[in-house]
């Protein structure tokens, strides 16, 4: 059997789990229920792109990572990224389903901070993990009802997730250094299905950086679900960079729950080559909480990306802001679907969003759909969206000074992205984003 005609729905889940893990019963029950529902649940709705014919179920599940003895033994691609990270800061590397490397993490224990392989955390800190795992997505508290219902790609993660990370920052702990994660797929046909849980308790402060990658030459399915909890008065900067390869199909879900006066700052750099269907939801459930999204993306070749960004205001005086910019080359297709939803009772709230797409080819196609759903009178909401070609007059102006068309385009692209990239909290990550985008633009 070749990998591509293997369908995970044919799996004997009981056997697979029996071999692979010791998990609490509630986790196993969740897996089994989700697995049974795979074919009956609806597809997630990505409005302007049909993703139902992507090979979401064609992958090898529960593939292990390869442990390494030293940093130098890490795969080259991983090491390259590791070197762009903040050196000396706590960092872990997950390959496929396993944590294969960690450095500088032991210093965190003294402060009560937990950075643990999720499977491990389910054993070591079961009670704590249970309070959060699956809860931002489908917790039954009515504050947490997400903007999306259950669907088969989410269920696929619930059933077959493999590896991931649990990060916990206790009350009042303010970390000066970021916690960093590299998530790498390895092997032809591998399914990379991580679950990530990041918890920042009241008045804590954390910058979390993750980088997800897969090989350009390997068929891969990435189905990653992250759940992020920002406690009262806490601040979390969540930076996610993806350089998934061109034979990867990516389904990414991120759910944030922000308590009173908490602040969640998402930064997304979608600079890889995968076909993507992504949904990020921030639930502002506590008074005075805020969510901020900064995002850049670049698509080339026949790449298809659907980015769905949603901010949901539940509590009064909550704020959200989205600034997303995308570049489209060749015959890339890119959709930004940005939803600001202000629920009844969220008075005094303010939701803003901007999505701009720049196309450098007449075969490319971009869509920016701003959507405001407002059920409360006393609020402010604003949106701006644009899709257009690179400005010929500006290009000409730059070229009259001797820049080739390509160089001039590059300047305009970087200029277009600069207001977003310059706000990425770590400078080496900014530089990395530019390099990654440059590689796509000038291969």
């Amino acid at each position: 059997m070749t990998v591509t005609d293997y369908d995970v729905r044919q799996l004997n889940l009981f056997d697979a789990l029996h071999v692979n893990r010791e998990e609490p019963a509630w986790v196993r029950e969740k897996r089994e229920a989700a697995f049974r529902a795979l074919d009956t649940l609806p597809w997630p709705v990505f409005e302007k792109m049909n993703i139902t014919d992507w090979p979401w179920f064609q992958f090898r599940p529960f593939v292990s990572g390869r442990p390494v003895g030293s940093r130098q033994d890490l795969p080259e691609a991983v090491l390259t990224i590791l070197n762009t990270f903040v050196q000396g800061a706590p960092t872990v590397v997950v390959e496929n389903g396993d944590l294969i490397w960690e450095e500088n993490t032991s210093d965190l224990n003294a402060q009560g901070v937990i950075v643990s392989d999720l499977k491990r955390a389910l054993i070591d800190h079961e009670g704590l993990v249970k309070r959060y795992l699956f809860q931002a997505v489908s917790g039954d508290h009515d504050r947490l009802i997400a903007l999306s219902k259950n669907d088969r790609l989410l269920a696929l993660s619930d059933a077959l997730w493999n590896g991931g990370l649990f990060v916990y920052v206790p009350k009042g702990v303010r970390l000066a250094e970021p916690i960093q994660l590299i998530l790498a797929a390895h092997g032809e046909g591998t399914g990379l299905l991580p679950r990530l849980v990041v918890v920042t308790e009241g008045d804590s402060d954390l910058t979390f950086i993750e980088h997800r990658l897969s090989d350009d030459e390997m068929t891969t399915v990435h189905n990653g679900v992250s759940e992020v909890f920002v406690g009262s008065g806490a601040r979390l900067r969540f930076v996610s960079v993806q350089t998934l390869g061109q034979k990867t199909y990516d389904h990414t879900r991120r759910y944030g729950v922000v308590e009173a006066s908490g602040r969640l700052e998402w930064v997304f750099g979608e600079v890889g080559s995968a076909h993507s269907a992504q949904l990020t939801v921030s639930n502002l459930v506590g008074e005075g909480g805020s969510a901020d999204v900064k995002m850049v993306s670049i698509g080339n070749g026949k790449q298809r990306n659907h980015f769905d960004l949603r901010n949901r205001h539940v509590a009064p005086h909550t704020e959200s802001d989205v600034l997303a910019k995308g570049i489209l080359l060749d015959s890339a297709r890119q959709i930004y679907h940005v939803v600001t939803k202000i629920e009844k009772g969220a008075r005094g709230s303010n939701g803003e969003q901007t999505a701009r797409l720049m196309m450098l080819s007449h075969d490319a196609r971009g869509d920016a759909n701003p959507i405001l759903l407002i059920d409360e009178h006393d609020v402010k909401a604003d949106h701006a969206a644009s899709v257009g070609y690179v400005d010929e007059t500006q290009l000409y102006y730059l070229m009259t000074r001797g820049l080739s068309r390509k160089e001039a385009e590059r300047m305009l692209i970087f200029g277009f992205l600069e207001p977003v990239v310059s706000q990425v909290p770590i400078e080496s990550v900014q530089a990395y984003l530019y390099t990654a985008m440059e590689r796509k633009f000038m291969p």
């Binding site: 400005d391 010929e392 007059t393 500006q394 000409y396 102006y397 730059l398 070229m399 009259t400 000074r401 001797g402 820049l403 080739s404 068309r405 160089e407 001039a408 300047m411 305009l412 970087f414 200029g415 277009f416 992205l417 600069e418 207001p419």
Partner: protein, 267 residues
Amino acid sequence: MAKPVLKIEDLHVAIDGREIIRGLDLTVQGGEVHAIMGPNGTGKSTLAQALMGHPRYEVTKGTVTLDGKDLLAMGVDERSRAGLFLAMQYPSEVSGVKTSDFLRAAINARRGEGNEIPIMQFIRKLDTAMKTLEMPQEMLSRYLNEGFSGGEKKRNEILQMKMLEPRIAILDEIDSGLDIDAIRIVAEGVGSMLTDEFGVLMITHYQRLLNYIRPHFVHVMMNGRIVKSGGPELAERLEAEGYDWLKEELGIELEHEETDTTVSQEA
């Protein structure tokens, strides 16, 4: 290096199929300052843009060479690297691109890979040019022309010219929008570059600029042609009397008569 020579012969230029330049001959050499004057809409900017290679301006006939090389066969960026410079009447605003980054990229584009300008040398050169033009340092960290006042944009054009050291520069109404002091500063900035290796073609409506950079030749354009050429005294007479006497003398009717066909007094 030899004197630069820009040679225009029987040039015809059309925009959207409409002929704007209709047979124009002009030669500009290193060490020379040429002024082109003429009523609004007679094709002065069209000439400038066509020489630079703007894609909307179609050369339908004629030849242009720079130092003997066929300028019209070159792309816009090649013309620049060959030594042609155009200070535009309406410079573009480019958000997100810092003026200093842009200038460095432009300089390096002509120096070529592996021969990039050392950063300190770049900074010194920029510093000197900025001082000459009395431009504040903070302008460098702003985005290219974004939110610049009209006069600031014009200074920025001259700054770019000084940094790029072209062989032939076309200055399209570099004096419009400049205050009285700025005209002098900018004119001195241009004048200080005048050597045998640098020639200037200035498009202007006003005598004032010519007080600071004395032209060797003054040409009057009407209906897409140079209809009269002379020395500095021609510009003085136009300033004093307008274009009517010339139209009468030559028996010319302007085809696209616009609201302001005389030289107005306000700058």
